[in-house]
């Protein structure tokens, strides 16, 4: 059957038309690069997403540090990961790429800081 996808891998947001049978991609049209097909294939078996949010910092001037994931995680685990992130409190100094949670919930992605926070 025919299904439409908007690829979210890059800002191009290619609108892809895919011929699928069950969870197999038969053919696709509309992708500007090879990642488009990989995206559709992944969407069919186990949609993956990245999230960005904030972690509490015990600091007078800057109360939050922004964080994101190093790898995508299953879409249906987003809120589980959010709950883990909400439990964390950090103290300055914090540097970009500092690992805040290693391998969160065993999903093969770290949570890393995306901002420097000075003492």
């Amino acid at each position: 059957m025919n299904k439409e996808y908007t690829c979210i891998i890059c800002p191009n947001g290619c609108e892809i038309e895919a011929q699928i049978a069950g969870t197999t991609v038969l053919s696709i049209e509309g992708a500007s690069c090879t990642r488009g097909r990989l995206y559709v294939e992944q969407e069919l078996i186990d949609p993956q997403r990245n999230i960005a949010t904030s972690v509490f910092v015990k600091n007078e001037n800057i109360p939050l540090v922004s964080v994101r994931l190093t790898h995508t995680i299953p879409k249906n685990r987003i809120f589980d990961v959010m709950n883990e992130i909400k439990k964390i409190t950090l103290t300055a100094p914090i540097v970009i790429n500092q690992v805040v949670i290693k391998n969160v919930l065993g999903l093969n992605s770290d949570v890393i800081a995306t901002k420097h926070v000075c003492v």
Binding site: S54, V55, F56, P63, L64, K86, T89
Partner: protein, 484 residues
């Protein structure tokens, strides 16, 4: 509370605040009960900001007497209270023969009321006075002017406070009883006792009047909507431009410059039931554009910054529908109560003259001793943006908070905001700071500075995020922290 006040004033709009200030010239314990969380939240803050000349009111009426008196003294008042005021003059313009008849009529009334300098002028003269004004001819009123009604009310209230008056915010009066010559004023929070009551409740003045035992007044709420135009076009308008009154009197949509350089277009007029609904409506907005363009040729959609509305508390004769004069009285049904009902336009212009007449009513019954410590002068918050570069440098050197600009659109510094946050009335809302400093009034409408204002309020007043209020009671801005 157990204290028995000498005087309690209900309402802290421009009239209540003026009454408080005038009464504070005497040795009296005075309190003001205000239902909102700041002064000037209702009618007093929602109008054209005009100091009226006094030519549209019936000769001998309170409206006429008080507006002419208030107009004459305002240079001195503005100096004492340190409030912005420009005696710009005003033109009332016309296009048709019946407009001319109307202008001649009001010129005659004005002269009978003692308004100086009124003249009928032609298009040529009108162009010279204000080239953006519409109209083929006009009546020119040189004594009219513009002011900031909010700052004026704040100044009156602060001066009253400095002279000993206490202000109680968030107190809505829900009942009044009288026992042993003492009034008990029951509010939604607590009960106050006083020997004298002054009703300055504006839109609710008929309601309070009934609670006092003086029945029979009906307030008709006439809602008027306004647009605020960008300062970019403000520089084209020198003075208020009003249309010649129609057969029912009263002014339709006009164009008014503000003391800060914006332009107000409005108001229209529609009778409403709900005195608490200041919502602005689409149909009114469309009409304001059309009517506004007749008065001021620079009215364009792209210059609109925001809109707002006010509700005029007109005292009406329920049988004839006629609009009545101000009521300022003391009646036997309510001994020691001074009743002000139906104070709509020219309420701002008339505020101090009305206040003095209220004092006179009390003086009829009691000897008033002067308050030796009374100081008529009050200092406002210095406007950094208006100072010369030299003065700016001095200010920053004295206080580095003048070197931190919080509101970029209006160039308002942290020093000014701190003064507003720590105002002597104890007002703690975001709108309270906005109205005292002009923050959030520019093009971005707080897009840049609102987050900082909220932060300053929390820091300076030791508040949690959930305690920060926008304006009214219950106007919580935030649901809590994101983390922690």
């Amino acid at each position: 509370m157990n204290q028995v006040y000498d005087v309690l004033i209900i309402g802290s709009g421009v009239v209540g605040s003026a009454v408080a200030r005038e009464f504070s010239r005497y040795r009296l314990t005075i309190g003001v009960l205000e239902k909102e969380l700041d002064v000037c939240c209702e009618t007093s803050g929602r109008n054209s900001g005009v100091l009226h000349g006094g030519f549209t009111y019936k000769t001998g009426s309170l409206k006429a007497l008080c507006s002419v008196e208030g107009n004459e003294e305002f240079d001195q008042v503005a100096a004492e209270l340190d409030v912005p005021f420009k005696r710009t003059g005003k033109v009332v313009v016309g296009f048709t023969d019946s407009d001319m008849q109307s202008l001649l009529k009001y010129k005659a009334i004005g002269e009978a009321n003692g308004v100086p300098g009124l003249e009928i002028i032609d298009r040529q003269r009108l162009e010279k006075l204000d080239s953006s004004a519409g109209g083929e001819f006009a009546m020119y009123s040189p004594t009219s002017g513009i002011l900031n009604p909010f700052i004026y009310t704040v100044a009156l209230a602060e001066n009253a406070k400095q002279n000993g008056v206490e202000f109680y915010f968030g107190r809505e009066v829900i009942g009044i009883t009288r026992k042993n010559d003492i009034y008990e004023i029951i509010t939604n929070k607590d009960v106050y006792k006083t020997r004298w009551v002054v009703n300055c409740a504006g839109l609710n003045s008929a309601k309070i009047s009934t609670m006092l035992g003086i029945e029979g007044y009906t307030i008709g709420g006439f809602k008027g909507e306004y647009f605020v135009l960008d300062k970019k076009v403000g520089k084209f308008l020198n003075m208020p431009v009003y249309p010649a009154p129609g057969p029912t009197g009263g002014f339709a949509t006009h164009a008014t410059p503000t003391v800060d350089g914006n332009v107000l277009i409005g108001p229209d007029s529609a009778l409403v039931d709900d005195f608490a609904d200041y919502g602005v409506t689409s149909p009114a907005m469309e009409k304001l554009i059309i009517d506004g363009q007749k008065m001021f040729k620079h009215v364009k959609r792209e210059h609109f910054i925001r809109n707002f509305s006010g509700i005029r508390p007109k005292l009406i004769n329920i049988e004839t529908g006629q609009i009545l004069d101000f009521v300022l009285e003391s009646r036997t049904e309510a001994p020691n109560a001074i009743n002000l009902v139906g104070i709509e336009s020219p309420g701002v212009t008339s505020a101090l003259p009305l206040a003095r007449r209220a004092v006179a009513l009390l003086r009829e019954k009691e000897t008033l001793l002067p308050n030796e410590k009374f100081n008529p002068n009050r200092k406002g918050i210095l406007c950094f943006a208006k100072q010369s570069d030299e003065v700016k440098k001095e200010l920053i050197a004295k206080d580095s908070n003048y070197g931190e600009i919080i509101c970029r659109c209006e160039t308002v510094t942290k020093a000014e905001i701190l003064q507003a946050v720590h105002n002597c009335l104890g007002v703690e809302t975001v709108l309270g700071i906005k109205n005292r400093t002009r923050v959030m009034m520019g093009r971005c409408q707080g897009g840049y500075c609102e987050t900082r204002i909220a932060e300053i309020i929390q820091e300076e007043l030791n508040k949690q995020a959930t305690e920060v209020l926008y304006g009214r009671g219950g106007s919580t801005m935030f649901t809590g922290k994101v983390r922690g």
